[in-house]
Structure formats: C-alpha cells, structure tokens
Symmetry: C2
C-alpha cells in the first residue's frame, strides 16, 4: 500500500502551503497532496479571468512550487478517510496510508435558493477550471449581466466583466451599500461612486426574488418588483466550508459549520488530523469567537501553522485579523481588523483618526493619488483595532503595515512614532505619512 508521512487532502492555497511548510519544517518527512483538479485556480484571481487575464489558463497556481519542495501530487478524488486504519481511499480504488492527515478541502460557493436558480447561465463562483471556462464563454458574449451580491467578489466581477466587451452590468445588493460587511460606510460610498463611471449599475437594499426565463435565464425580478434583463446571472454571495469528507470521517464541526480545531490547527476530534483554510473553523483575533470570514491570506497563515505543528507543537494561531484589499476602477480599497461600526457593535468605545495625503510626494509628482487612512482605536487602552484605506495601489501593502500594528496591539502613541521609510516616488511624505498622522490625530481626540 502507498503511504506518506503526511497526506494533504486539497491542493489549493491552504493545501499547497501546508505541504510546502511541512517540507520546510521537517525535511525528512514525505508529503503527498491529493487533489481532484488537474490544475489549481488561484482563488482570488478568479474575477480577473473575466477581464484583465482573459483566460482560465492564466490563473493557475504553478505545480512547480510543490515539485521544487519535494511534494508528491496525486490527482484523484478522495472517497473516504479511515481514521482507524489511518488511510484514505482514492477514487481509483487505491488506499494511501498516512501518519498525519491535513484536511484542506476548502469551501463551496453558496447557491441562494431563489426560484429559477437552476436555469442555464446562472453561475456561482466555482473554482473548477472547466466550469470557469464555460462561464467565461458565456460572459464574453453576454449583453446583460446581473451580479447577486455586492461584496468584494461581486464588485470585482462587475469591474472586470466590462473590460473586454461592452455589456450592461448590474449589482444587486441586499444591504444599503456594497462592501458593507468589510468596510465602513464612507469607504463603501466612495467605492460605489466609482462604479457608474465603469458602466456598472448598483441596486442596493434589493433582493433578487425570482430568476426569470425558460431553460436559460432572461432576467431577474427584484424585491421592489422591478425586472432587469439578464443573459448571465452571477451569484457572489459567499461560501460555506466544504466538510462532507470531514463529516463522513466523524470530525466535529463548530458554530460556523467548519471543522473544529484547537489553537495549533489540530482537529479537536483526532490528534493525527489537522485542518486549515476555508474548511477549518476560525476564531476572531479580537473576541476569540468563531468567525466565518474566509480569506486566502488567512488560509495560508493557518496552513503555515499546520506545516510547523505536524510533528512538534511550535506555533499558535492568534486568530483572524481579517485583511482585505481590492481595486475598484483603478482605485485601491483595503481594510484590516474591525471597522468603526463593528468595533462599536463589539462593545468598544472607539476613537478614530483619519489622515489624507498623496501616495507620492510632493503632491505634484506625476500620477500622485490622494490616499486616505482611517484608524480605529479603543478609547480606554488606546489599542489599534482596525483600519481602512482608499487610494493608490500601495494601499495593498499599507494595509499590511496596519495589520502588523494591530497584531502587536500598538496604541495610538506607539503608531504615531512608527518608523516608516518614505520616498518621493513611493510613499507619502514623512510629514504627511497617513498612518502616523491618523494615529496622532486619534491621540488628540482621545
């Protein structure tokens, strides 16, 4: 019987990183990744297939990463995990023995149970390459696209779908604003204001009641009775943990219906089985409560923890901070930790600091983009709870500076003295650098 010291089920971000990290941490151990996909899609790259990239083939996680690190790949489906025998049964009939098993089975897109959701050309955000290819074919010739859900994925799809051909794109969002689950209202309003320029219509406070058409979708009916034409409908309303295999194997799941793990990413049910990524239950960095937020960057951090802890307990998962970034019409939006609204809901008395400056300096540098940083602190302790940024592309890394400050529970006084580097072509000026100014203004307001 084939066997490996470590068997990883799933080859997307979490599975691949767990495998590589294990090889880095335990050089002598053999690692086998079992996945059903021939090639694995970059999960966060999926919206970009439909515009910037233009093809499914350009959105592939290269297998070289696994091969260069001595990880074996088996491209089959896993039918069953036998915890007593410590084997997994493959679709080809073979069994593979393991010493340690890693569940990295990811998530499945939520399909909203709307009447008509089973019609042709109603797509969910499925990570399967063939599914995405047929979706691309339909989107490329679509005249009227309706996107259900104005979260990051929905907004990114809306922006991308129009890049390669003219079409009508409408986002239908149930909340008052797009992106509202992740960002404070002022950022949502700013991002939304850019969508009409991109030719994207937004219907907020609306629900799709019915998907219209015969065999194939022809439109949707909204909760206010309006009908929108549609030859393609995209459901971008989130994902649920893919835990069928884990459930079959008797692994306990938690409040978010994900596999329950301890602080070391070991399943609470079986000491030889670990879980990471979208299929593993997360806890909030702030409250310690279960969190349903799924992010590839969190999945990979968890996977690195798994890789380190498989044979020796080395690292502890500190809980999910939640760092998001996106682009809307060429402008970057990013956030980390708690929004002002979420912080208040969590019972914090917050103090906020905001600073705006160009992302290069002086302001007359060509291409300078006004960039705003908002930081949210706890009034009592002065500790940083979260931040939001809108502006130039460097916001994608600026939010990681904010994340580092959150992770270290820095206070506004400490953030105000943060030693950043600055350069005319790369950052705001040292005088105006937004993160430290926002912190100093919060200290003033406290």
């Amino acid at each position: 019987m084939k066997s490996a010291d470590v068997v990883v089920i799933g080859g997307s971000a979490a599975g691949a990183v767990a495998a590589v990290s294990c090889r880095r941490r335990y050089e002598g151990k053999s690692v086998l990744v079992i996945r059903k996909e021939g090639q694995v899609q970059v999960p966060c790259g999926i919206p970009y297939i439909f515009g910037t990239l233009g093809s499914v083939e350009k959105n592939v996680i290269p297998d070289a990463l696994l091969q260069n690190n001595g990880v074996e790949i088996v491209k089959e489906e896993v039918l069953e995990v036998n915890r007593e025998k410590k084997t997994v049964l493959l679709s080809g009939g073979e069994s593979v023995g393991y010493d340690k098993l890693v569940m990295a089975t990811g998530s499945l897109p939520i399909t909203v149970p709307i009447p008509g959701a089973d019609k042709e050309n109603v797509f969910a955000i499925n990570k399967d390459a063939n599914y995405l290819k047929s979706m691309l074919g339909e989107i490329n010739v679509a005249q009227d696209i309706v996107i259900i859900g104005g979260g990051f994925i929905g907004v990114e799809f809306a922006d991308e779908c129009r890049k390669n051909h003219a079409c009508n794109v409408t986002i239908v969002e149930i909340l008052p604003h797009c992106l509202q689950m992740a960002m404070d209202e002022e950022f949502c309003i700013e991002a939304e204001s850019l969508l009409p320029e991109l030719g994207v219509k937004v219907c907020c406070n609306q629900r799709v009641e019915t998907i219209l058409g015969d065999r194939k979708v022809t439109g949707v009916r909204l909760s206010d009775g309006r009908e929108l034409k549609a030859d393609v409908v995209i459901m971008g309303v989130g994902a649920i943990p893919n835990i069928a295999m884990a459930a079959k194997a008797g692994l306990q799941t938690g409040k978010t219906k994900a596999i329950m793990v301890d602080r070391y990413m070991r399943t609470v049910t079986d000491q030889d089985i670990f879980a990471c990524g979208d299929c593993a239950e997360k806890v909030s960095f702030f409250s310690g409560s279960p969190s349903a937020v799924m992010l590839a960057s969190v999945a990979t951090a968890e996977a690195r923890t798994v890789g380190a802890n498989l044979f020796v307990t080395r690292q502890q998962n500190g809980g999910e901070i939640g760092v998001f970034s996106t682009m809307v019409g060429g402008r970057a939006f990013a956030c980390a930790g708690l929004t002002e609204k979420a912080a208040r809901q969590e019972g914090y008395d917050v103090v906020v600091g905001e600073a705006v400056a160009t992302d290069t300096h002086p302001g007359g540098m060509p291409g300078a983009v006004s960039t705003k940083v908002k930081l949210v602190f706890s009034r009592g302790t002065g500790i940083l709870l979260g931040g939001g940024i809108s502006g130039g592309k460097s916001a994608g890394e600026m939010i990681n500076v904010v994340s580092a400050c959150i992770q270290h529970k820095m206070t506004f006084d400490e953030v105000a003295l943060f030693q950043m580097g600055t350069h005319p072509a790369l950052t705001a000026s040292p005088i105006a650098y937004q993160i430290v100014n926002a912190a100093e203004l919060a200290a003033k307001a406290a």
Copy 2:
C-alpha cells in the same frame, strides 16, 4: 516682547512636525516656528527637481500644514539663543520669549576638501531654493555631469539629471559599490546594473583627487589618474548636523557632533530645550550606540516625540531603525534595519531567508514585477534584524511592514505567520508572499 509657549527654530520636516504635533498634543499652547526660508523645500524631493518635477517651486512643503494647525510662522534668521532669559534674538533685532524651545536646525551638506572644490558649477546638496534654482539652470544645459558619491542621493541625481535632456552622467564612488552604506552587496550590484541602461556611468573604488578648470569646472581627475570632462560637479557625500546656534548657546554635542538628547528628545544640557531631526544625536535601535544616519522619516518620528513630550513626558524614542527606499530606473530598492553585513559586523550570528515573487498575481497579470525580499535574523533568538527589497513600487510600503516587524522584535516563526492581506492587482499571492516565505525559509535554515 513677543513670546510663545513653544518656539521652534527651523521649518523643515522636523521643525514643522514638532510644531504641529505640539498643537495636537497641547491645544492651548501657542507655537511659533522661526525659519529663514520663504518657502521650505521637501528635503528628499530635491533630486526629483532635476527630472520628474522639473522645477524648484514644485518641491515645496506647503505652509498650510502649519497654518491649519494654528502655528505662527516668522520668516527671519535666529542670531542667538539666550537660555537665561529664555529668549531668541531675531535678525530683525526683535527678541522672542519662549517657555520651551525646539532646535530643528537640520544639517549642512558636506563639502569634500578637494582642490578645486570652490570652482563655479561645483554644487553641494543645499536645501536653499535660490541655490537649487541656479543649480537647476546649470544642470539643464550641462553636457557632462560628475556626481561625487554613489549613495541614495547620488544615484537619484544620476537617474533624474538625464530625464529632461541628454547628457553624460558619471558617478564616482569611493567604495566598491554604490549604495553600499545602506544595502547588502547583491542589491547594490542589481541597482548598479540598471544605471548603464539609463545612460549613467559608474566609477567605483575611485576618489576625485582634483576638480579641474579655471574659474569654472571643466573636469575631474580620479585617483587612478583618469580625467573626466565635467561642466557640472555634484557632491552627494552626506551631511553634518547644523549645530552652530546650539554650540553658541552652550548645548552639549555628542559623538556624531549632533546635539545630545535624552530618550525623550530633551537636550541633556537644558530641560527647557528639545532637539529633533538632523541636528539631534541619534542612537541605533539595535545597539543603543550613536548613529550618524540622517533620514527625514527619522526626523519626523523624533519631532512627533518632541511634540508629545514638551510639557508632559509621554513618549520614548526607541532608537533609529533606519528605513530607506529609492527608485533606480523604475525599479524600487528598499531596506530597513541592519544589512546582513552590518549585522555580522555588530557581532550577530545571522540566518537569512530570501523569497522572490511577482508583486501582483498570478504572474501573468499585466505589469507584474519580480520582487525579492531578503530578511536577516539573529540565529540565537530568531529575532528580525533587518531586510532588503528590490522590485515593484509597492516595495516602498512593504519595507514598512518589515520595519514594523523589526520594531516588535518578531522572530522568524512569528513573521512566518504574519497576517497580511493580498490581492491579485496589488500584492504577491498569499502562497508566495515574500515576507512570510523569507521568514519561513530562515526558520528552515536556522
């Protein structure tokens, strides 16, 4: 007699920020900035005047910052500080009383005592607007420019001087490589390799022995006997603290010939006088020893400490990490903390991790730039000592993530679990994100 609660001498980055921070921290206090300049130049923007910006007027720190924060500006020279009477004497004859005084007199460019250094068209990097205007006039019509010193300023000048007109530019550097004081050799070599494509020649291991010409410079003679034609010579060899006024007032200076201050940026000589920026002595974050590195971003962090501590001791200066970034031929180079070489010189047994990935993902995203991160850790403790980056423009903020990790003495295991956000158009992939991969590889190597 005119008076203010706080008088700041000097209106560049340090002076302006100390004034604004004081107003933010102590709303009721009156603050007066005394400076001799009509308009203040952005110090790190100076090389960009000669190419990208094209004019001295576009490189001005706006006075609005001071005005909007209720800071009064007096545009005169200070002749004398009378510590007994707690007054400063202005060039116009007026005296101004203070409760607290802030010395932010900055630095003066080093003029190397080379024979012929007093000839016309031999320029130092002076921050005076009129001086820079005449320098711009000469550079704009120069055929042959020799730059003495291949540090950041020298390399930036070389890159910029050729942007608006064709001319021959040669850097003469005394060390084996350009940028060697700040970056490890491999980054220096990479940056140097880009210079010929920009039409810039580099003569390393060379000293300018004589500056040739009659009244006006016509060339330079190098230590190997070669002569280079030059109608403009630029000396970019560093700066020394401007402490004439402080010395006259009897303020003690330290090993780097800068004003000695305590951990709270108060001068050791006079409890009512603070100092910050290039004129104030710095200590290394790592060793606590005096450091002669001058950076606007350090100056502003010190100035914020001064602003906070003027009337109540609130904040401690943790010592200089030293975070640099620059652009060479459109590629960003950045570093923070100790280089591998400097760490070894300081007596550390180092362990290094390196990771390369594109700055967007997947690699096929248009405009993706291969970006390398090198992290240097102490073997015994695993604590991060420094990092270097070369690659896309987001390196300017990535190095600030590294700085935050240094500031918190994070180990390779902690950096490997850092919760960054990622996005296809803004960062490397969560799998390949360079900072965490470099940390994990260092953990492997340790």
